[in-house]
Every structure is written in structure tokens, then in C-alpha cells.
Symmetry: C2
Subunit: 442 residues, 2 copies
């Protein structure tokens, strides 16, 4: 899939939806991300939407009103359902056709009847709620930031990143049932914890609850079992990206994870943002793959041309914490870190190609986590354990509070956006998750 630029990337394009033209808004006419929504406090089903400015477009309603037909009509009507798997399965040409039709109808020079059809299907974002945009068949979490791997290794007193890190986009399967949409609240997990110097584990609520800043990657079209996906086709199997918080209980993880990996430490909650930013909208922000020449070439199925447009993406990311004291004092959440996805060692295309190379079948709506996104600087770390150096240097918040891990009542807010001179800002909205106290034992 070539990420060539087209008229939807024109920074001069403006919409007749005035809020879409705001300076630092997430959802200009050049973005057009997808979600599912319903109006709050109205008895109706979830269905597909696209964001424009501070509004959502009810896509199925628009399809009826505008009398859409052909591939655009088919794609729009796939959004009638409460999950977007049917749209995902249609493939890039359908996604592109639908997005381009929306772009044309939202453009300030759109014919008045096209404008009228959409206008009747706009609902303010402030009046809607979202749910998971796909039936997620499988959720896979990767481990692809070399800075995160190096930080963790150093903090745990190990000797550098693992021998396989530069060969394999490492991944494991995660839990689907506990994936929640932004606004998710969950109880602090409990589990077995081996305290230092003890010989037997205790059962306790986690004392080392952490977040992990990640991107979520939705598979569009899948592959048949036994039929790998070539690297140069891999991006075309991706519908788009969201923000993802891979909540992690470090103390439960340390005791349980040998020999088969994390389990209860990760499966209590994963929080994702509602809007899926399409790969096409991200095209202006592609960069060459970040693998340094000194690391040599990976195996051929992972080896991409240095000039490839399927390499990195410069997505700016930030993590904020909001404690109950922030809320009580009406203070803005404290920014904990900022980084970019461009530092990630393995690209999305490499993750997809690796996932399928052994014969595993991916299905529309499968979700991949990118793995924690930490940049090269300490301030760019994607987890609190890294920022607070394994609790040795607690982070001070704007409220004066200190944190080495996430406490009850704390909310973690992830935000993301792409920005560069000559292009419109492409925003992701936010993912917000909040920790409730552990269930009291009887």
C-alpha cells in the first residue's frame, strides 16, 4: 500500500463544519476517524460514526439520506451495525472511497444538497457515548520499543535487552474480555505477590499498579490460516490506530510470569480510545524505519527498504495523571511524559507480517497493541515504573502529591496527535481509565 498523498491531505482544505477548522483541534476535515456511538440517555443502538470538529456524523443515517450507492454506499451501510467489523473486512479501497466521499461532502465547497444530507446527520460529540468499535476476536500485545526494553532491563538489574529483541517483534496474546473504551473504571487487581526476602507469596491487592502507553492497531482485512502476509502488503491489512493503555500490575507480574508470560498482571483491564484514525489520514507523517544500520538487516520477511513509506509514523503521544486532588481542586491533569511513536524499533507492518508468518490467521477487528512506547529520553518513558525508576525517584504531580505507581482514584489520560509544518493536525482524542479501590475481601 503506497502512502501517497492526495486531496484529503491538503492543509488548505476547510469544512463548512466550522469547529473542524479550529487551530489545534483533533478532528479537521483531513482526519475523519471512525468510532461507534449512540446518543446518551436515548434508547437506541450503537452504530458507526466519523468525527468532524466537535460533531459526529451518523454514517448509516447519512447513507440513507444521501442515497449513497456503489462502494461508498456499501461501506457506509456497513456502519449500521454496532461494531465495524464488516467495514473493516471490505478493505482499503472501500475505506478510501468512503473517506473521500465524506471529505467531498464536508468540504466548504460541497454542493448544498450534499451538505444538507450530512448536516441532518450531525450530533454534537458532547451528547454521545462510545463503545468498543469492533468485535475483537483476538488481542495481541507487542513489545517493540527498544528504549522501554532497555529501561526495564536496567531497572531489574538485567544485562541489556534480550538476545531476540532485534530479531523478533516480540508479542504475546492478551485478554479481550477486559478491554474497555475510554471512561473505563476498574477495581485495583489482586493476586499473588512475592515480597522481597519472603519464601511464600501473599495474596493482596497490587501495590505496583502501572499504566503502559501504547497504540492499538486494528486489523482490517485478515488472512487465511497458513497464508502469511507479505511485509509490503502488511499496512494494507490495517484499518487504523487508536490509543491503548495496557494496565499492568508489576508485582503480580514478577511472580507469575515464568515460564509462560504475564497473565493476571495484565488481564484485568485494557483501556482504548474510541476514535480509530485511518492509515490514510496518517500518510503525511510517515518516516523511514528507525532500525539503525549498525543493527544489520532483520530476516528477509521483516526487511523493509530504508526508503519505504511503510516504516515509522511520527505520532506525538502524552500521558497525564489526574488524581482525586486534581479533581477536587479543579486543576488540570499533570503531564507525566511525552514521546513519539517514531522511536519504535519495529514498524506496524513488521508486527503484522511477523504475526502471520507462521500461519496464524488474523481476522477483521483483531487488535494489536504496539507495546509500551518509550522514547530515548527519560522524560519520554511510557510507564510510571520507568519514570520513577522502580519507585526510587517518585514523580511529583502538580498537586504536590508524589507517585511511584498508580493509586486508587487516579485516572490516566493518553492523548495523541500528528503535527508538522504544511499539514493539518491529525488528532486521536483521548483514552481515559480510572482505578477504583480493590474489592474488599470477605
Amino acid at each position: 500500500m503506497q502512502h501517497t498523498l492526495n486531496q484529503t491531505h491538503d492543509p488548505a482544505a476547510r469544512s463548512w463544519v466550522a469547529s473542524a477548522n479550529a487551530q489545534a483541534g483533533d478532528f479537521p476535515i483531513q482526519n475523519l476517524p471512525f468510532s461507534v456511538f449512540r446518543r446518551r440517555n436515548v434508547d437506541e443502538t450503537f452504530r458507526g460514526a466519523v468525527a468532524i470538529g466537535d460533531q459526529v456524523i451518523d454514517i448509516a443515517a447519512w447513507a440513507s439520506r444521501a442515497g449513497l450507492n456503489g462502494i461508498v454506499g456499501e461501506a457506509a451501510r456497513a456502519c449500521t451495525q454496532p461494531v465495524l467489523n464488516a467495514l473493516f473486512s471490505m478493505g482499503p479501497s472501500a475505506w478510501r472511497a468512503l473517506r473521500h466521499a465524506l471529505f467531498a461532502a464536508l468540504h466548504e465547497r460541497a454542493p448544498s444538497e450534499d451538505r444538507a444530507a450530512i448536516e441532518a446527520c450531525l450530533i454534537p460529540q458532547s451528547e454521545v457515548e462510545h463503545s468498543l468499535p469492533a468485535q475483537i476476536g483476538d488481542y495481541t500485545d507487542f513489545y517493540t520499543s527498544i528504549h522501554h526494553a532497555a529501561n526495564i532491563s536496567k531497572l531489574l538489574g538485567m544485562n541489556g535487552v534480550g538476545a531476540n529483541f532485534k530479531s523478533i517483534p516480540i508479542a504475546y496474546h492478551g485478554r479481550v474480555s477486559s478491554i474497555g473504551i475510554s471512561g473505563q473504571q476498574f477495581r485495583r487487581p489482586a493476586g499473588q505477590i512475592m515480597l522481597p526476602g519472603e519464601e511464600a507469596p501473599i495474596f493482596s491487592p497490587s501495590r505496583k499498579l502501572d499504566y503502559e502507553l501504547e497504540l492499538g492497531i486494528y486489523i482490517g482485512q485478515g488472512n487465511a490460516a497458513g497464508e502469511p502476509i507479505d511485509l509490503d502488503q502488511a499496512d494494507s491489512h490495517v484499518f487504523g490506530l487508536c490509543l491503548l493503555n495496557d494496565w499492568s500490575a508489576r508485582d503480580i507480574q514478577a511472580w507469575e510470569m515464568q515460564p509462560l508470560g504475564p497473565f493476571l498482571a495484565k488481564n484485568f483491564a485494557t483501556t482504548i480510545s474510541p476514535w480509530i484514525v485511518t492509515m490514510e489520514a496518517l500518510a503525511p507523517f510517515r518516516l523511514p524505519p528507525p532500525r539503525p544500520d549498525a543493527d544489520g538487516k532483520p530476516l528477509p520477511y521483516l526487511d523493509s527498504d530504508r526508503n519505504s513509506t511503510t516504516g515509522a509514523i511520527d505520532i506525538q503521544l502524552e500521558v497525564c495523571m489526574e488524581t482525586s486532588r486534581h479533581r477536587a481542586g479543579n486543576l488540570p491533569a499533570t503531564q507525566l511524559s511525552r514521546t513519539s511513536f517514531k522511536h519504535q524499533y519495529w514498524s506496524i507492518a513488521q508486527m503484522v507480517a511477523h504475526h502471520a508468518v507462521g500461519g496464524c490467521n488474523l481476522r477483521p477487528g483483531d487488535l494489536l497493541g504496539s507495546g509500551t512506547i518509550s522514547g530515548p529520553q527519560r522524560s519520554e518513558a511510557g510507564a510510571l515504573m520507568e519514570l520513577a525508576r522502580n519507585a526510587s525517584e517518585p514523580v511529583t504531580l502538580g498537586t504536590g502529591e508524589q507517585r511511584s505507581y498508580v493509586e486508587d482514584g487516579d485516572a490516566i489520560i493518553l492523548r495523541g496527535y500528528c503535527e508538522k509544518a504544511g499539514f493539518a493536525r491529525i488528532g486521536f482524542g483521548e483514552s481515559r481509565g480510572e482505578v477504583l479501590p480493590a474489592k474488599r475481601s470477605r
Copy 2:
């Protein structure tokens, strides 16, 4: 859930379906396992069935014909769907009511009109095919045989089972998309392999493809996020059991699994048997938990009464291999091993209670793998790597062929049944999976 015996366990009960009364049959009137089926070469949808002798009962058709109502009718009509999740979600009293109604109508003393209603809904098993009986939301694979853990540890030159084995029913999340029903054929997986003495991995079809003998455990009713399942309630959340082959590529696994566990080594295929044997049918074969007193007590959330009826289950299991030479010579498959599930260190109830204790929500239709089932004797090993001692002592088959791992064209057949004096035999049918050659690289 008390596993008290009732009239459905009466060994003297006989059915008017003559084949159900055969001496060593899997499906007597005391069993009544569930699956989904359709007639082969007929354009119709999959729907729920119960096995009796050499027949299947089309449950939804029976519900209509017999005019079933109340809880039995509701449970039977839930079998109209192509997956049984709706039935699973109804809970043990509904499952029991449906099974008891079937028992009564199949009994040799059933009223003739009851008999006639079922008779019209019988289809020979030889004329049907099966598909996955549930929409599996999440698949979790456990690691609960201490004999398997000890064997693997010894073969890999490690120092005994892991420090956490006797504290935690260890588990990790597996791949749903590649779970297939008995009859599954799949290509030999390829992946990165680090050969001994080399410094860089190669990409190759696996040279160490293995099977793992397991039971699959279907969750019936789930739990809400953040609401653990008490140990003494855990069995009541299980609908029933099937056979499960957790195909594993040992060479891919060895290189990829640090630090987050197996991924491509396991996610290319998992083969399960079509029939789900209910927990009620297994009640006569319960045994006390096998944890030796010398190991002390586990943490309270895993600690069951030694006299509990929710402990072990004596399910006899066997693994057979059928190569292309067996087929060409019309020879019976070679039995590789036999064991019992009664040796498993952790019980099903303990697996379920552990899974939910941190707050993870289980959903109806979730599938848990028991982990490889190896007994204390060498001949009871549940994987070929154990039987052939890491390829140092290849197994000789009935054809004269030798095997250290599974080769192209080999089929692995799992069988299971419960048998003891004074009770009818309760069979599981079989799970058969066959390895096709790897896809040729371009």
C-alpha cells in the same frame, strides 16, 4: 455445586436407541454430551445437538416437535443457534433440566409419544459434520501438570519445576482464531529458529513440531469484571469438557518466548473435539484433589477441602499417531501414550478461581486449556518431546517408523473416557488433527 449422583448416573439405565447400550460406546444415555452439527452435503445451518449412541439429536427440532416449555424448552431453543453460548449463559439448573428431560425421553421406559418426538429428530453421526460449539471470546491455556513441568525441566537441563508452580495454576492467553474442530488440517508453521551454536536465527519451517494432550474447559456462566469466583462455586461456572491438542513448535518457542511467553510457537493451530461432556455426566468420576499434604496448603482462595467433590476427575486419556504409512497399509494408528487427568496438580475449580481472582471477567463460551496432561510414568507423557526425551530416544511406531517430532502427513488422535466399576462408560469421542507440509517460500 455438589456433584451428587442422581438417576442419570444409574448404570442400569438403558435407552430405546439400541446403539447407546453398546458395551464400550462413548455415548450411552448416562453421557448426553453437546455439540453443534449440520448434515453433510445439505444446505443448512449449524445448530445444537446431543449425542446418543451412534446418533445425534437435533435439539431445536426436538423442542418444536415435543412442544417443550418452561426452562427445558428455553434451554432447548437456545440450541437453535450455530453456537451454544446462549445455552452456556443459562447456568447449571437449565443445563441439568435439559439433560434430565433428554434422559427421560431417551429411556427405554419413556412414554411412546416422548420417544416418537425424539425419534423424528435423530440423525446418524456418520451423516453429520461439526463446527466450533461456541463463539470463543478468549482462550486461556494453563500449565498444571507437575509431571509435565518436571519432565520439561529435566529435558532442558533446568533445576526442577519453577518456584511458583505449587503456588499458582500458571496460565497464559492463547489464540482463538486458529482453534479448529476435529478434522483440522494445517500447514506446518514456519518461524525464527536459533540453531545450536549459531549466533543468528534462521527462518524455517519448524523442525520440532509437537502435540500436547489437554482437556478443554468451556466456561458456562461468566463473572462480572472485578467480581472473583469463589473456589466452591467455580465448578458451577463450567459447562463441560472436551479434548484439546495444543500444537506446539518447540524450536520456534525456544527462541521467541523470552520474556513474554509463547506466541507463533502455539498460535497456528489448536484442535478440539466436537462433543462437550457435561460436568454432571462426570460426577461419578470425581476424586479428591491430588495435591500431596507434603506440599502444604495453597493460598486460601485456592485451598479446597481434601474431601471436596470439586477436586480431580479420573478421565482416561490416550494419544495415537497415524502416519501416511498407517493409512496406506490400512493399519490402526499407533498408541503413543495413556494417562489420566486425575494426576493434574491443579483442579478445574482452582484454574477457574485463579483466572477470575484478579478481577478478570470470564464470559460464556470462553475456553480454558488444562495444560499438557502427563502422568507420573514415562509412558504417560502428554507430548512427544517428553516421550522421545528431547529427540534422544525416538519412539517406534507400529509401522516401524520412528518419531521424535510430528512429521508432515502425521495425524494425532486424542481420545478420552471415564470408566469404573458400577458406572456406565462416559466417552469424549476424539480429536484428530493433521499436519500438512509447510507453505513453500517464493
